[in-house]
């Protein structure tokens, strides 16, 4: 008969040590990797791999965003053309609220760069009108 109590104590101690030594959740390094990936990672397969790695660390929102970005390049040409038209139409608009609504739609699809540019444009419209 094995002495179960000492084994359980050692096992729990080892688990506690592993959890404290291995960082979980969003660390500054992971945040940097994530932000850099949003800007410069273009290969859909690499985006998915990184998304899987983030998922394993419990970072579901970031993993979802990276997978959405992987899908952006796999859209059919007619959908791409429509998205480009929508972006152009938003850049023609003089209503900052409408531009921000389009920016939000792009953000939800993973197009963070397009969303940022539209938000900047909307901010310019607001400042120009408010002054």
């Amino acid at each position: 008969m094995l002495p179960l109590i000492p084994i359980a104590i050692v096992g729990l101690g080892g688990l506690a040590y592993w959890r404290t030594k291995t960082p979980h959740g969003m660390t500054p390094e992971r945040k940097q990797i994530y932000e850099q990936a949003l800007i410069s990672l273009k290969d859909p397969e690499k985006l998915r791999t990184l998304g899987d790695a983030f998922e394993k660390e419990g970072l579901k929102d970031e993993a979802t965003m990276l997978r959405k970005r992987a899908l952006l390049r796999e859209m059919p040409p007619e959908v791409r053309a429509k998205r480009q038209q929508a972006f152009g139409a938003a850049m023609k608009s003089k209503d900052p609220s409408k531009v921000e609504a389009v920016a939000m739609a792009f953000q939800n699809e993973g197009a963070t760069g397009a969303a940022a540019n539209l938000r900047k444009y909307a901010a310019g419209l607001r400042a120009s009108k408010a002054a």
């Binding site: 791409r80 998205r83 480009q84 972006f87 152009g88 850049m91």
Partner: protein
């Protein structure tokens, strides 16, 4: 007659306040009214009397006093809007170059400027010529067309103050031109941002 008198009184007040703010046209008109009144012109004598009345009733509150409850003219973005609609290329370029260097919010200035005349090659050249010689013009074109934020940030760190002014004006004009190009559909999204071009599948 009464209507004429009221107009003259209102004009007197406006002239005096404008002159107090340093408007040289108003100062010249006041001098002219005084000269004509001295010559004995009846209308000028009447106007001079109203001017003196107004000055005595409303003494100056110091040089450069601006009444706080009155709007004293168009705001900065109205000036950009007006400049951007100038048909004459030389006036357009002079106004745009001056205002772009004074802008506090380059993004808002660019968005406002984009609503005006198309920033054609001719207009860009006219603006660049006003900013200096060949070296300054090269800087203007580089900053106006560069879509690499990191390179621009590095450049800004080594530029002298005059160069920074040119770079700011160039960024405003360049961004306005890009907005116009995207709106017309003739400019690739890559010119605005390589990230946007990638995301939208260009």
């Amino acid at each position: 007659m009464a209507n004429d008198l009221a107009t003259l009184k209102a004009a007197s007040a406006s002239l005096v306040e404008r002159a107090r703010l340093g408007d040289q046209n108003a100062m010249a008109m006041l001098t002219r009214v005084k000269e004509e009144a001295a010559k004995g012109t009846p209308r000028a004598k009447l106007a001079f009397r109203h001017l003196m009345e107004y000055i005595q009733k409303n003494p100056t509150r110091g040089h450069g006093y601006v009444p706080t409850r009155r709007r004293m003219g168009p705001n900065f973005y109205d000036l950009i809007r007006k400049a951007s609609r100038q048909g004459d290329v030389s006036r357009f370029s002079a106004d745009v170059a001056t205002l772009a260097m004074r802008a506090e919010d380059p993004n808002a200035a660019a968005v406002t400027l984009a609503d005006g005349h198309p920033l054609t090659r001719e207009r860009m050249q006219a603006i660049a010529k006003l900013l200096g010689d060949e070296k300054e013009q090269k800087l203007f074109y580089f900053c106006a067309t560069c879509n690499n934020g990191a390179r621009l940030r590095m450049l800004v760190q080594v530029l002298p103050p005059e160069g920074l002014q040119i770079a700011k004006a160039a960024r405003i004009v360049g961004h306005a031109r890009t907005i116009q190009g995207i709106r017309s559909g003739h400019m690739p999204l890559m010119k605005l941002s390589p990230a946007v071009a990638w995301e939208l599948g260009e």
